[in-house]
């Protein structure tokens, strides 16, 4: 599971995840996601290269999203594939953690 970051205009941090967000993948990003959640207020998590997500992967997204919200920030998700989007929808996470398929719209939601 890979994790990389990129600064976007407007103080937005783009977090690019790459691989499978299964139990092994989720544990691989937990620490870095926690660090990001503690220090940033506008976070865009790019799921374009995420091939799989399970409940531990959901946890790895919900925990930092809550932390960011608790200090006045916001986190959004970008470009999940069809299967990953179905998991987000089934779990209900998409109702409180917005999902976008367009980078400009996702960035605008964080302004």
């Amino acid at each position: 599971m890979g994790i990389a970051t990129e600064e976007l205009p407007g103080g937005i941090l783009r977090v690019i995840l790459d691989g499978s967000l299964d139990i092994t993948g989720a544990s691989a990003i937990d620490l870095q996601m926690n660090i990001i959640a503690g220090s940033r207020k506008a976070v865009l998590v790019d799921l374009t290269k995420v091939s799989f997500i399970g409940s531990m992967g959901l946890r790895a997204l919900v925990l930092p999203a809550r932390a960011i919200k608790n200090h006045g920030g916001k986190m959004v998700l970008l470009n999940p594939n069809e299967n990953v989007a179905q998991v987000l929808k089934t779990s209900g996470i998409d109702t409180l953690l917005p999902v976008y398929h367009d980078l400009e719209l996702a960035s605008a939601a964080l302004q």
């Binding site: 499978s20 299964d22 139990i23 092994t24 799989f52 399970g54 409940s55 531990m56 959901l58 946890r59 919900v62 925990l63 999203a65 809550r66 069809e82 299967n83 998991v87 089934t90 779990s91 209900g92 996470i93 109702t95 409180l96 953690l97």
Partner: protein
Amino acid sequence: MASNAEPDSSADRLVLPAKLSAMERLPPWIEAVAKNRSIDDRTRFAIHLCLEEAISNIIRHGHVETAAESTVTIACAASPDGQLVFTVEDNAPPFNPLAAPAMPIVDANGEIPIGGHGIRLLRNFAGSLDYEPTPTGNRLRIGFVIER
């Protein structure tokens, strides 16, 4: 209800120590099963999701993490009704995951629960689910309709 079909070959059976660290062996096994049976990507995703939820639930909540001799056995076989059925057996204390309530999507504070999504995902992505206790543990059958 899923049938009690036997695995077609040894490649259709996986035995894991009941430890979360052993779960890294699950995705390559599913990949091999899917390739051998020409399973489409969508079904393969559902199989991976359901098996990860079922097995991690056993390991995390079945009180077997610390028992060195504890194992989880997964076997897959085609059933007469056209499903591919994965049978997950453990030697944990009796627990029927299908009787467990799914967590609400939003909790009383309007927040997304951090955990508790596994049962909901299992129910939504499996084609069929069937639980029975065994003399030594639990047996969960998870079926998937295979498109021909």
